[in-house]
């Protein structure tokens, strides 16, 4: 009677559990990409005007700014945090770039990036040093930065125009039918992938998000990594704003509302866990494109308003997070 054999329960065979785990992981990492492919195929079959080079280019071009922001957000979320200030930083970056462009291209680039970097640094330091929740710190950032932007632009009444053609070309010039920002985005995505997968910094980001205590015990510089992550996110949001100002030739003050939510949605849809520790850039890019394709498809249908896109994105987001919960539960059980 004392035989301490504990395996009373039916244990799934090692093979079965490994397969289930792998399926779960593939779905998690590449689910967005699969849905994206599916939507593109369905769209091409359903609408003649969907699978055209022009439409594809327009989706890619309009997605590029969100993609840049979402790349930074991916780092933040993998580290277990969140950054609500990116929408405001995007607008601030654009306004400062347009303002700075009167003093030359260098100023148009450096001024917004410096200011956004400082904001990110402040947020990162507060989060890392005081242990205050990233949610609330960057919420204050959202408000404060928007205030700063309004103060600079005379309460939003002044729209600085870009008169420096060299700077405007950054946003408008094109190569093989795609504007420069698309290439910038692609380069940034590649760099971010290498940074995340192939450098000590990237490993530290994953480790902190996966288990902060263990990471500290394993010698990861937790505070420094966190600060860097928020600086990066702010810089990328600012850069997206700069490029957007170049594209529009002006520092538009009314954009960027809710952009942080789009970025978070794209990251989560792309398979990055909001609890941190897992995810990647490929997923995020797929998530951004997925949102863009949904938008484009809804435009194709014609009689649907763009509001319909929000319904679909929201439902999709809910579906993704529930699926993620179920997957992680299944994996824990296996």
């Amino acid at each position: 009677m004392t035989s301490p054999t504990m395996n009373l329960t039916d244990q799934p065979s090692a093979n079965g559990s490994a397969r289930r785990e792998r399926t779960g992981r593939v779905l998690q990492q590449h689910g967005a990409l699969m849905v994206l492919a599916l939507l593109v195929i369905v769209g091409s079959l359903a609408f003649d005007s969907f699978a055209t080079a022009g439409n594809a280019a327009s989706v890619v071009v309009s997605s590029s700014f969100l993609a840049i922001i979402a790349i930074g957000m991916t780092f933040v979320i993998i580290s277990g945090g969140i950054d609500l200030s990116v929408g405001s930083l995007f607008v601030l970056g654009g306004v400062l770039a347009a303002y700075g462009s009167q003093y030359g291209t260098a100023v148009a680039l450096l001024l917004p990036l410096t200011v956004c970097g400082v904001v990110g640094l402040a947020q990162g330091l507060i989060i890392a040093r005081t242990g205050m929740a990233p949610f609330i710190v960057t919420l204050a950032g959202l408000l404060g930065v928007r205030g700063l932007m309004l103060a600079i632009s005379d309460e939003g009444a002044t729209t600085f125009l870009v008169r420096d053609p060299a700077f405007a070309a950054l946003g408008q010039g094109d190569l093989l039918g795609l504007t420069y920002p698309v290439y910038v985005t692609a380069a940034l995505a590649l760099a971010a992938m290498v940074l995340l997968q192939r450098t000590g910094f990237g490993q530290n980001v994953y480790a902190i998000g996966g288990n902060e205590q263990a990471a500290a015990l394993m010698g990861v510089p937790v505070a420094r990594t966190k600060v860097l992550v928020y600086v990066m996110s702010a810089l990328l949001a600012g850069l997206a704003g700069v490029l957007n100002a170049a594209r529009l030739s002006s520092g538009v003050t009314i954009l960027g509302i809710g952009l942080e939510l789009d970025a978070i949605s794209a990251v989560v849809i792309g398979g990055t866990l909001l609890t941190g520790g897992a995810g990647g850039i490929t997923g995020t890019v797929a998530g951004v494109l997925l949102l863009g394709v949904i938008q484009s498809l809804i435009n194709q249908v014609g009689n649907l308003t763009s509001a319909f896109q929000q319904v679909v994105s929201g439902a999709f987001l809910a579906l993704v997070v529930v699926a993620q919960r179920l997957l992680s539960k299944a994996q824990r059980l296996s």
Binding site: I82, G147, V322
Partner: protein, 312 residues
């Protein structure tokens, strides 16, 4: 000194918001011309009403260590539903709007309580989706002429706007719920120590669900009242960012984001403080931008103060 600091933080957390409101009032009485003007007061109160109503629900949600980002979109959905069904009379339309709000709340609550999704993502999905739904239902601003609904938004009793009275009544009701009902105490206990609450046999999941339903209901009501006051349904912009104002009101009122405490009156005071602050800055010719920057600083300070208290 070491003794004094935690006590100071505790005092700031408990009474700081009242002191700040008093100080601002005093400042305005002394330095702002026409501040004591009745119509000015009324305007301020009417403006802050939706935020107050939404923050009551938010305080409850934050008390469980949760957050509800969907409230602004629920307001928009309520605005859309109320005009769509206004043909059946304003009361049925109101009922449909409230049911809509409760349904959104139930969806968020189910995701949080039963599926175990983090509150911030669950309600983020609803924020995006429900705003879209509202816009699909009512794509543009729609004006209406239902006299009863207009009266709800614009009439006064004894000089006090009806919607302000409703907000006051809801505040009292929420005080009662939190302080005197089994449900209210269970909410606080779950926020304070979830596993202890589970071991004590509390129906944790059911309570969580109900918390989000209440938040949805209150947001829907705020949406209807705001629509009544505007005499138009505007799902595109109604309630935009109100979740941030509501969270701010709760936090500034000294409720810790870590749950386990619900401070109804302080939350209302928090909303009033932010309103008063922006009014004061505007009256003194300081632009909107300043308000937002000052708000940011106040939020950080308020959370920092609660943090000290919590880690003591």
């Amino acid at each position: 000194m070491a003794e004094l600091k935690p006590r100071l933080y505790a005092w700031v957390q408990d009474y700081g918001v009242y002191a700040a409101v008093l100080a601002l009032l005093l400042f305005n009485v002394l330095f702002t011309p026409n501040f004591l003007d009745v119509s000015n007061f009324r305007t301020q109160l009417v403006q802050v009403t939706p935020i107050v109503i939404v923050s009551l629900g938010m305080a409850l949600v934050i008390g469980t260590q949760g957050i509800d980002l969907s409230v602004g979109s629920v307001m928009a959905l309520a605005a859309a539903l109320v005009v769509l069904y206004l043909g059946y009379g304003w009361l049925p339309a109101l009922a449909v709007a409230l049911v809509g709000g409760a349904a959104v709340g139930a969806a968020g609550g189910a995701l949080v309580a039963y599926a175990g999704v983090q509150p911030i993502v669950a309600t983020l999905a609803l924020l995006v989706g429900v705003r879209g739904l509202a816009n699909v239902l009512v794509p543009q601003l729609v004006e209406f002429r239902n006299p009863d609904l207009i009266a709800l938004g614009s009439s006064s009793v004894a000089g006090i706007p009806v919607i302000v009275l409703i907000a006051a009544a809801l505040t009292l009701a929420m005080l009662f719920v939190v302080r005197r009902t089994t449900f209210g105490r269970q909410v606080v206990a779950i926020g304070g120590n979830r596993s202890a609450s589970e071991l004590s046999g509390l129906p944790v999941q059911r309570v969580l669900l109900l918390v989000y339903v209440i938040s949805g209901l209150l947001a829907a009501l705020a949406g209807v009242l705001a629509t009544a006051r505007l005499q138009a349904s505007d799902p595109t912009s109604l309630g935009l960012f109100i979740e941030l104002s509501a969270i701010t009101a709760v936090v500034v009122g000294g409720t810790p984001l870590t749950g386990g405490r619900i401070r109804v009156l302080s939350t209302v005071m928090g909303a009033l403080l932010m309103q008063l602050l922006s009014a004061t800055l505007i009256k003194h010719n300081l632009p909107q931008s300043w308000t937002q920057m000052v708000q940011a600083v106040i939020i950080l300070a308020a959370v920092y103060a609660t943090r000290e208290r919590a880690s003591r």
